[in-house]
Structures are given as C-alpha cells and as structure tokens.
Amino acid sequence: MKSSVITFPGSNCDRDMDVALKKFGFKNKMVWHADTELPKSDLVVLPGGFSYGDYLRCGSMASKSKIMKSVINFANSGGMVMGICNGFQILVETGLVPGVLLRNKYLEFICKNVFVKINDKKNKYFKNVDNEVLEFHIAHNEGNYFCTNDQLKEIEDNNQIAINYCDENGKIEDQFNPNGSINNIAGIFNKEKNVLGMMPHPERMIDTSLSGEDGSLFFKNLINNLK
C-alpha cells in the first residue's frame, strides 16, 4: 500500500506520521506543498502542525497551496484522504468536510491523552476495529468543532460523525469534552466517507514504551482495510 504525507511550511507531525505509516507496512512518500503532482497513493495524509504559522485562520493558507488542488481532485474521485489536527483544519478550509475548528472554549492549548468513541464503522478507516473506544493524544489550540444547525443535521443524518470525545467506558458527556466541540465531535467524514478529519493523533500512540498502542490498532486495521 502506498501513502503520501504532505509537508507544509510549519507542519511538525509529518515525520511522526511517516514513521507510523512505515511501521505498519505503508510505502510512504513525503510530498512538498509546492509540488503539483501527487504520487500514486492509496492514502494521502495531511499531518498536524502549524502550517503557515496558523496565519489568518488555521489551515486557511495551506488549503490554497499548490498540492491541494491534486489532493482535492484525489478526494473527489474517491481517494482516501486523512487530515490529523492541523490536517483536519486544512480539510475544513478546503470544504472537503463540513464545519470549522474554532479556538478551544477555555482558550487553553490542550495537550493530553483522550478517549474517543467510534461512531461509525461502515467505512475504511474504522471497519473491523474491535474496540469501541480508543485512547489517542490531542495537542491543539483550535479544536473546537463548530458547524451550523443545518450542517449538523446533515452530518448526523448521513452518519458522518467519525469519533466523539468520551470517557474510558465510551460515555459521551460534556465533562469529557476537552475543547467545547459541538456534541463532543472529535472527527468527521465527508459524505462518501473516504475523507476523514480528526483532531486526535493516532500516530502518537504506536509504541508501548512511549505511549499506548491504540494508534497501532488503528494503522494495522487501516492498511488491512485498504488491501
């Protein structure tokens, strides 16, 4: 399976993602934002970081960069595109997934482990994951998912919510919402579910001695689903 990770000026989780993808069997290529052609890929990842210094709005500049035209075409033709953290912010700015990510409700940069409940498994990202709840890491200042009431109704009707913040038992309540996101939303799909944007970092949970292994479950499962 071939993957591509896009590096924007200010990306800082691109190499972590490269390590994670390779660890679980992807042949990964790093792609510079100013390139125009995407290598042949089964998966494209927009990594975390602070692309363009978060100027204007997080992800807004990166969403207009040269490579993104190819990424948008790839996504619109059914290609798998996953945006993590800043990558999620870039995805919402392209319009590939609905909504926006606002400043965290309590104005704090949040860096901690969280639990997320998988809301939908009828997609290539979470199909066959045995667990209902995964422990991932978040590190962000603008992760407060917001959308209009009409958009919320649409994403609920289409089952586009991927994961919600919860406790270790999968209970989704306001007290387990780290950043003020509507309905504890931590990640969403596009309608076709080939595009996934999420704030948590699975690539930070791939080593027992450093973190946990729920990211390993995620990536192992993902590559199997793509085969």
Partner: protein
C-alpha cells in the same frame, strides 16, 4: 486604490477572546459594557482604480480566503 475589510464573527458563534476582553474591561472599571466581539481588519491596496471593480474583487477575496462564511461575516469599506 485602498479598500478595507472588517471580518466579524457571526452572532451565534462563541467568541471566548471577546468574553475575556469583556471580563478584563469589567475588572478595570468599564462596567457598562454589554458585550465585546473580537474581529479582524484588513487594508488592501489594489492596482484596480475602478471603484466597483475593486470592491467586487475584494468581495471575491473575502469569500475565497479572508473570511470563512460558516462562522464569519465581512464588510467592505471604501477608504478613498
């Protein structure tokens, strides 16, 4: 010609920065403030000299980049 743009958050969007500024003003004794909403301001100097054309271009810039219409409104102001 110069054109300026003011971007504001829509009414229903939470503005925690505005809230903190409001609280701080309150603490400083400016206790008659109802609400503070923080926004963005741009000055755009364009080569276009036709007023209507320049404004139309800036409007396009607002829609495509400067504002995110899910959460923000924009107002274009002629500086000349």
């Amino acid at each position: 010609m110069k054109i300026s743009v003011i971007i504001t958050l829509k009414k229903d969007v939470l503005d925690p920065q505005g809230k903190v500024i409001h609280q701080t003003l309150d603490g400083m004794g400016f206790d008659d403030v109802n609400e503070v909403r923080q926004g963005k301001y741009f000055e755009i100097d364009t080569k276009e000299n036709d007023n209507d054309k320049a404004k139309a271009k800036v409007e396009e810039m607002c829609k495509k980049l400067l504002a995110n219409l899910v959460i923000e409104n924009y107002k274009i102001i002629d500086l000349n």
